[in-house]
């Protein structure tokens, strides 16, 4: 590992990275706009310039070079001596910031980026509190550049991150720089708007408020939002995300850097797939039917009711008539707790992995790349935890079935009691599947929304969306990733994990890592969960 000296401090850094990245990773706050570790380097913003020791051409003595060098474009090498803490560097940052703010409209009070804006931060830290600009500011038009994104050109600092993103990551090339010099603008070709499955990322990488998400526009000030680390449940890739919420409402999802899975990006499908969580049609209270009577019992009584009625059924019909369907949207912990409960009542119960939603084909980016070179992949398997739930079911042993054979068996009357977990964001019970509901004498259905199976169900339980739960998902590559709960479930519902924790006979508070530790004793695959390392504090 090369060692470089920054501001008289020796820093050990990864080989092959630019000095800027090394400085950021070592905790320096070096201002930068155009540099992004996931994109090519253009060194156009000139904010990250540094002083560097170089040999004097005449005396061969090491002296500070007469010109400042861009730290984003200078690779680290052993023995390199640089400094950011100098008057010349500070002067450059000062004049660069003045230049960036020359035509800036200073409309922070109505700007969505305010609070997470690097024009604000850098102006405060490296710029000056006044402007010497006396002429009329250049005014550029606002542009509707795509179905989900707006461009407010006045705020742009021309870092070209968004252009490079569509060029290098999505490979769709919609964005371009038009005109020249002070009149340069970001634009699209008219009629060819920014509309690709990854386009939301350009809003994330925009260091200022120039690219705006129409979905989040004017919804909430960002400093009121709380960010909770989570994992995207939309496909089996399992991208690291951050749920930004306030007042128990989710406002937006943002990607988190995860070097093993999604790098810095997420797809639009995942980004906007949180609306169903706040749907008014969600089931919010449990329902118990006995004959023609229905009741809404207290959550605390439910475990006893279910256990009693299931035990009754096992006594009458035998434990082989019991089945449980596990949704691939369940966390590993929840699947394990439910499986433990079912097997404790009916040791020969059949465990079934629910249907796996498959949509279209895998999409690889940049468009046109094959498997090996892809920088981002959206999988056709639209569920987060097929492998995790599958691992729980296979590790526990005993009878288990795929979903299709299970439906066939049900039609033949093999099962008369079942616990079916849904939790899919979209309707998942096909006409064929709906027919099996009639064959059960005792059916428990747990789902977010009402489904066709519920008509014949003895007990209906509200399920929670992943934002309200805690646990871990195992993605398509077999990486186990924990996620936190961001908001509370709708009033009347209870977190799946806590309820199943109670059902399985444990007392106390359900905590994902605690349950994972218990699981690891049986299943070594759950011993270690992968949490991506945090990004350097001043990197963006």
């Amino acid at each position: 590992m090369p060692k470089i000296t920054i501001d008289n401090k020796e820093v050990e850094c990864r080989a092959g990275i630019p000095v800027l990245q090394a400085a950021l990773e070592a905790g320096w706050d070096v201002p930068h706009y155009c540099y992004h570790p996931g994109l090519s380097i253009v060194a156009s913003c000139r904010l990250c310039l540094m002083e560097m020791m170089m040999p004097d051409p005449k005396t061969k003595e090491m002296v500070w070079s007469p010109k400042l060098a861009p730290s984003c474009q200078t690779p680290v090498r052993d023995g390199l001596v640089v400094r950011f803490d100098s008057d010349r560097v500070r002067h450059n940052q000062d004049i660069c910031m003045e230049f960036f703010l020359l035509n800036h409209p200073l409309d922070c009070p109505v700007c969505d980026q305010a609070g997470e804006c690097y024009l604000q931060d850098y102006s405060y830290k490296f710029g000056r509190p006044y402007s010497r600009m006396m002429d009329q500011k250049l005014v550029n038009p606002k542009k509707d550049i795509g179905p989900r994104t707006l461009l407010y050109q006045d705020r742009c600092v021309m870092c070209s991150r968004c252009v490079r993103f569509t060029d290098e990551i999505s490979g769709t090339n919609e964005l371009c720089l038009v005109n020249r010099g002070s009149r340069t603008e970001i634009d699209v070709f008219p009629g060819k708007p920014l509309d690709n499955p990854l386009q939301g990322n350009v809003v994330d990488i925009c260091p200022v408020g120039s690219l705006l998400d129409k979905d989040f526009l004017f919804k909430r000030r960002v400093w009121e939002l709380t960010g909770t680390p989570s994992v995207c449940p939309t496909c089996a890739t399992g991208c690291s995300i951050r749920i930004d919420h306030a007042d128990n409402t989710i406002y937006r999802l943002k990607p988190r850097h995860n070097p093993k899975v999604n790098q810095w990006w997420i797809c639009d499908e995942g980004r906007f797939n949180f609306k169903y969580v706040q749907d008014a049609k969600r089931i919010a209270a449990p329902l118990v039917r006995r004959g023609s009577e229905t009741s809404c019992p207290d959550w605390n009584d439910l475990p006893q009711i279910i256990r009693f009625r299931l035990e009754e059924h096992v006594r009458e019909k035998g434990d082989q008539t019991v089945a449980a369907v596990f949704s691939p949207f369940m966390a590993c912990e929840e699947a394990w707790l439910l499986a433990r409960f079912i097997r404790s009542v009916a040791p020969q119960a059949t465990l079934v992995l629910g249907p796996i939603p498959m949509v279209g084909e895998d999409q690889r980016f940049p468009v046109g790349t094959t498997n090996g070179d892809a920088k981002f992949t959206i999988l056709r398997e639209k569920c987060p935890n097929r492998r995790g739930v599958g691992l729980v079911l296979t590790s526990l042993g005993g009878p288990s079935l795929e979903f299709e054979p299970f439906v066939e068996q049900c039609k033949k009357g093999a099962f008369s009691a079942a616990w079916i977990v849904g939790g899919y964001p979209t309707p998942w019970v096909s006409k064929d599947t709906a027919k099996i509901a009639e064959g059960f004498e005792f059916l428990i259905v747990q789902d977010i929304f009402e489904n066709e199976l519920m008509a014949g169900a003895a007990i209906i339980l509200p399920a929670c969306a992943w934002t309200e739960r805690e646990g871990s998902f195992m993605n398509a590559a077999g990486i186990l990733q924990p996620f936190d709960r961001a908001i509370t479930p709708p009033e009347g519902a209870k977190r799946d994990g806590q309820f199943l924790f109670d059902m399985a006979g444990y007392s106390g508070l359900y905590m994902g890592d605690r349950v994972r530790a218990m699981m690891a004793a049986d299943i070594p695959g759950f011993a270690e969960a992968y949490v991506p390392p945090p990004e350097p504090p001043f990197a963006h």
Binding site: L150, R180, D187
Partner: protein
């Protein structure tokens, strides 16, 4: 939408419209492919070829160039908007550029401009109804020692007096440059496809007939 915005979702090119680039133009663009490592690199010659053939590069021409070069149309507008001498809007066959800088001004450039306006019956930034001439002014044509001067397409006319304007406009050769601009552009010798059937770019008329 609470803001007034330019809508970029609207099509500016009718997908059903007939192509504006003739096969001869396309073939000439393709003849530049062997000279460069990538097709993208042919963008600048392609823009010159199209501008020579049709006078300007329209939105539809940009899309068609992008199709020939297998790049995104945004790459074409990126490049075309960087250079000020590419025209994206319709203009006359010949563009008269009058100098409005100080040397020409003191030597009577304004009178020449007025005479042109009267003769052509148009104002600055306008095109004659017959599509023959467009009139613009520019800051300096780098001909101060021959002021006042004006440019017709690429040919510089020096020491123009108001009385000369009528004769100048009547001259059908008033935009012809006698010398070829470069071998590469006008007489591609080492590539057979370019020579067969396609004239040089300055012979716009011949190409149209072809």
């Amino acid at each position: 939408m609470s803001w007034k915005t330019i809508d970029r979702n609207q099509q500016v090119v009718d997908p059903k419209a007939p192509p504006v680039l003739t096969e001869a133009v396309r073939e000439k663009i393709r003849s530049f492919f062997p000279r460069y490592e990538t097709k993208r690199a042919v963008l600048l010659p392609a823009l010159h070829i199209v501008q020579d053939a049709s006078g300007h590069v329209s939105w539809q021409a940009m899309v068609e160039i992008a199709g020939v070069l297998e790049i995104a149309p945004s790459d074409v507008i990126d490049t075309i908007s960087f250079y000020t001498h590419f025209w994206t809007e319709h203009k006359g066959k010949r563009v008269i550029t009058v100098c409005r800088s100080i040397s020409c001004e003191v030597m009577g450039g304004a009178a020449v401009l007025e005479e042109l306006k009267t003769r052509l019956g148009i104002e600055e930034h306008q095109t004659t109804p017959d599509g023959k001439y467009s009139l613009v002014t520019e800051e300096c044509l780098a001909g101060c020692d021959h002021a006042p001067c004006l440019l017709i397409n690429e040919k510089l006319h020096k020491r123009v007096k108001p009385a000369d304007v009528a004769k100048l406009l009547a001259d059908p050769e008033n935009d012809r440059i006698p010398v070829p601009r470069s071998d590469l552009f006008d007489a591609p010798k080492d590539h057979g496809a370019a020579e067969a059937g396609v004239g040089t770019t300055s012979d716009v008329q011949e190409m149209r007939e072809a």
